[in-house]
Amino acid sequence: MTRETTTVLEFPYSRTLGPVLGAFLAGLREHRILGIRTPSGEVLVPPLEYDPRTGAALDELVEVGPGATVESWTWVAEPGEKHPLDHPFAFALVRPDGADTAMVHVVDAGSPDRMRTGLRVVPRWRAEPRHLIDDLEAWVPE
């Protein structure tokens, strides 16, 4: 029987956000979801400082949602240690109204039976925001 070893690699990183992601996370705290408009008129969520297809700089933030549509989903029946909820939930591609792209986020639907592509959802906000993406704690069925 060989000996077991454990190594923990741990650090509290401090990320500076810049203007776009900074505004996005600040918006979540105020219960607002911000996207950003590309030159072709598309609205990206989450907002990026650049058009991911061309690298062109973007700066026109626009509010989207709060209603949204599930475009794809999977059920996490047994959440792991890094997952945002401690009870079963869905990871989903969620497209807020007014946005042309979807964000990978969390749907707290209680049961996989309630999940379907096309499901309408609304945000549930974290009571005590901590300036992270999960200040939008989860999406819940409308």
């Binding site: 060989t2 070893t5 190594t7 741990e10 900074g22 901590r130 300036h131």
Partner: protein, 180 residues
Amino acid sequence: MSDAPKQDLVMAHLVSLRYEEPLSRILDRFVDGLMEGRILGHRCPACRRVYVPAKGYCPLCVVETTEADEVEVADTGVVTGFTIITPVAYYGQEETEPFVYASVLLDGSDANLGGQDIVGIPHDQVRAGLRVRAVWRPPAERSAEGITNRGWGSVGSAIDAFTPTDEPDAPPEQYAEHLF
């Protein structure tokens, strides 16, 4: 939470990852040795160099070594190089006072044990050539702690430090190939 504008531009994210695995057979046997107060290594069948702890191969010849190549080396040796470290504070750093970080070439080994503490002598008298002996923990307090397959740790869970033997210093030519 502060409402200072700058706060909006910073995001704190704790990243914590755990790596769990059994010690390799070679290191497990090395720890068995430490428990009994023995220091084991492998002798390269090609170049005859001895590595402590064994790697399972000779990095110079790139040939594998096995238990058949096992040798025991002494718990005495010579300091071949050192630094006095003024610890820098960082997340997880437990040291606060200056400490010795010495390389010790054990008698019978061809590879330094790095990062050893030297006790029983003032920091300003630590020197290359100093003859030292292992300060073993009591057998019941020895463990495999800190020894991993990633190359971290060597003898620290069984040997707290090295201390002068009070022999005359080793002549430089004896450790010239092992300065670092």
